[in-house]
């Protein structure tokens, strides 16, 4: 055992505690303070109360980014969980090549969001229009030139990137279901659909919670894909929350407003995570 007053206890914790304070806690407190000032990134002249917070609710770019992000999160959470679970069910069946497919589906996850966005910029602008011409489908033309195709472009990139990740998590839970249970149900004459709804689905419910919250908080935090795929354009119409905060600081040099936006962003992301903790506790009690 290590005592509170023992030197080694503190020595062992020094590197991480110092780094955490320098990198996270001191800056976040400074940021909170600056969000109540007229800070310009270097100095501030006075406290302005809640002025920045009032301003951000009238900031069209922020409001637009908020609703764009909410829409994006709703669509991607549904798609990622449906497709991720679908892929997991597929590759856990025993057929030739199922292991290879696992490798394929997870591969996009290894590549960073920035480069993924560039890859898909080519697919959407060049590949889609070539396909559209070949198949005589006009809706495949001019992708990423308006908010709608920009939105679906971001959704497709995210689904392509993250489905394999969600699949991996579902697989981990699917493999925990004892084979005997499934076999017993099969002998009792349960159909494949009944086996899925009555056995598999209830038994992977915890995976569902994990994946729900993972996709939820990741969706809110997306930045790189947004930057490299649409750069928020055209006319900021596909700018998501994280990007709006970065641009408010580094493009508009409105540092105090950016901090206020970042604090609201913090509240949203933290609320989602705390909801997850609460939900998990409740479920563990129920069991």
């Amino acid at each position: 055992m290590m005592k509170n007053r023992s030197l080694s206890f503190w020595l062992f914790l020094t590197p991480t505690l110092v780094a955490l304070a320098l990198v996270v806690f001191i800056p976040v407190l400074e940021g909170l303070f600056y969000s109540f000032t007229d800070w310009d990134g270097l100095t501030y002249t006075k406290m302005v109360g809640f002025q920045n917070y009032i301003q951000l609710f009238h900031d069209k770019a922020f409001i637009n980014a908020f609703w764009f992000t909410v829409g994006f999160v709703i669509v991607t959470v549904i798609l990622l969980n449906v497709i991720g679970l679908g892929l997991a069910l597929l590759v856990t069946q025993k057929f030739k090549g199922s292991n290879f497919l696992r490798t394929v589906f997870f591969m996009p996850n290894m590549i960073g969001g920035l480069i993924l966005g560039f890859i898909w910029q080519f697919i959407f602008t060049q590949g889609f229009s070539a396909l559209g011409t070949a198949l005589h489908m006009s809706w495949l033309q001019d992708w990423l030139t308006d908010a709608t195709t920009g939105f679906w472009g971001l959704v497709i990139v995210t689904v392509w990137q993250m489905s394999g990740y969600i699949m991996i998590i579902y697989i981990a839970y699917l493999q925990n279901i004892p084979n005997e249970v499934i076999e017993a149900a099969e002998i009792d004459g349960a159909s494949a659909w009944q086996r899925f709804t009555k056995i598999t689905f209830p038994m992977i419910a915890p995976a569902f919670t994990v994946c729900m919250f993972l996709t939820l908080s990741n969706g809110f935090k997306i930045y790189d894909q947004n930057l490299s795929l649409t750069n928020g354009g055209p006319y900021h119409s596909t700018q998501m929350l994280a990007m709006d905060i970065v641009n408010t600081a580094y493009n508009s040099s409105n540092f105090a407003l950016s901090e206020a936006k970042a604090m609201i962003f913090f509240l949203i992301v933290a609320a989602i995570s705390l909801l997850q903790v609460f939900y998990n506790r409740k479920r563990e009690v129920d069991l």
Binding site: M1, M2, N4, S8, F9, W10, F12, L13, P15, T16, A19, L20, A21, V23, V24, I26, P27, V28, E30, G41, L90, V91, K94, F95, K96, G97, S98, L101, T103, P108, M110, G112, G113, I115, F118, W120, F122, Q126, G127, A130, W160, Y165, I168, I169, A172, Y173, K221, Y223, L227, S228, A242, I245, V246, A249, S258, E259, A262, F265, F266, S273
Partner: protein
């Protein structure tokens, strides 16, 4: 499952796999085309295939330099995180007081804070002491990524009995020796997981290094972003650049796949 439905599933899976790989196919084939070739047909295989794109983008990306920077930063950060987090988790797990519980909560609560909420003061502070460079970045990664790693190590440590420590102590080992010689080796499965999770995140990170690194220390994603800005609409070069820059990650994935899948699963599920 019947043989027939197994075949049907297999065929369906293969079609889905092809759709999944199609973006890679397009990038790879078009990276060998001339600008004219891309303009003539995006979907076909290259007619007059050329490797000029690769030679040119390799130079323009200054690829060996950015690869070196990416490697140094990733390796240094991951080593620092593994050491710092395992030591921290060990101290917290072997101390059952309220204080240690509170400190663990402090680490975990840091995970709730999004990067955007700290980025401006963080870069201003590091800038004021002239630490906006690789080594400052390594410290930042330790601060941002130690929480999850401590949390993961903490779980594994609770399954290592205290008797291990006590036996070593009886033989006269110091606290550091107990940790370094007895405990740390027993943590190695979790060390692999911690390493994998951090390698993927740090290797691919863009926003933080873009605010911290001087141009002489650019990593692959930063160099890619610059490169893309310079060669907009010159897809033949851009695609070769993309292929070069994802090659190291794909190779790493194919070699270390088993550990990567395990690491990613542990990181999400635990």
């Amino acid at each position: 499952m019947s043989k027939k439905s197994r075949t049907t599933l297999g065929v369906f899976g293969i079609i889905l796999g092809i759709i999944w790989l199609f973006p890679f196919y397009l990038i790879l084939t078009n990276s060998f085309k001339t600008p004219k070739g891309i303009f003539a047909s995006v979907l076909s295989l290259p007619v007059h295939s050329t490797t000029d794109n690769y030679v040119n983008s390799f130079k323009a990306l200054d690829f060996m330099a950015s690869l070196t920077h990416s490697l140094i930063i990733t390796v240094a950060s991951v080593i620092v995180i593994i050491l710092g987090a395992s030591m921290g988790a060990y101290a917290l797990q072997r101390n059952k007081s309220k204080l240690s519980g509170g400190l663990l909560m402090l680490f975990i609560s840091a995970m709730l804070i999004p990067f955007q909420s700290v980025m401006i003061p963080l870069t201003a502070n590091f800038g004021s002491v002239h630490f906006l460079n690789m080594w400052g970045l390594v410290v930042m990664y330790l601060g941002f990524d130690c929480s999850l790693s401590i949390f993961l190590y903490q779980g594994t440590l609770s399954s290592i009995p205290l008797a291990m420590d006590e036996a070593a102590e009886m033989e006269g080992a110091s606290r550091w020796q107990i940790f370094y010689k007895v405990i740390f080796p027993m943590l190695s499965p979790m060390t692999v997981t911690v390493a994998i999770l951090n390698i993927i995140a740090i290797w691919n990170d863009y926003l933080l290094p873009s605010l911290v690194l001087p141009q002489t220390q650019y990593t692959i994603p930063l160099q890619m972003f610059n490169f893309f800005g310079q060669y907009t609409k010159q897809w033949h070069l851009a695609l070769a650049g993309i292929t070069i820059s994802i090659l190291p990650v794909i190779l790493f994935y194919l070699i270390a796949q088993k550990w990567i899948i395990k690491g990613v699963t542990d990181g999400a599920v635990k």
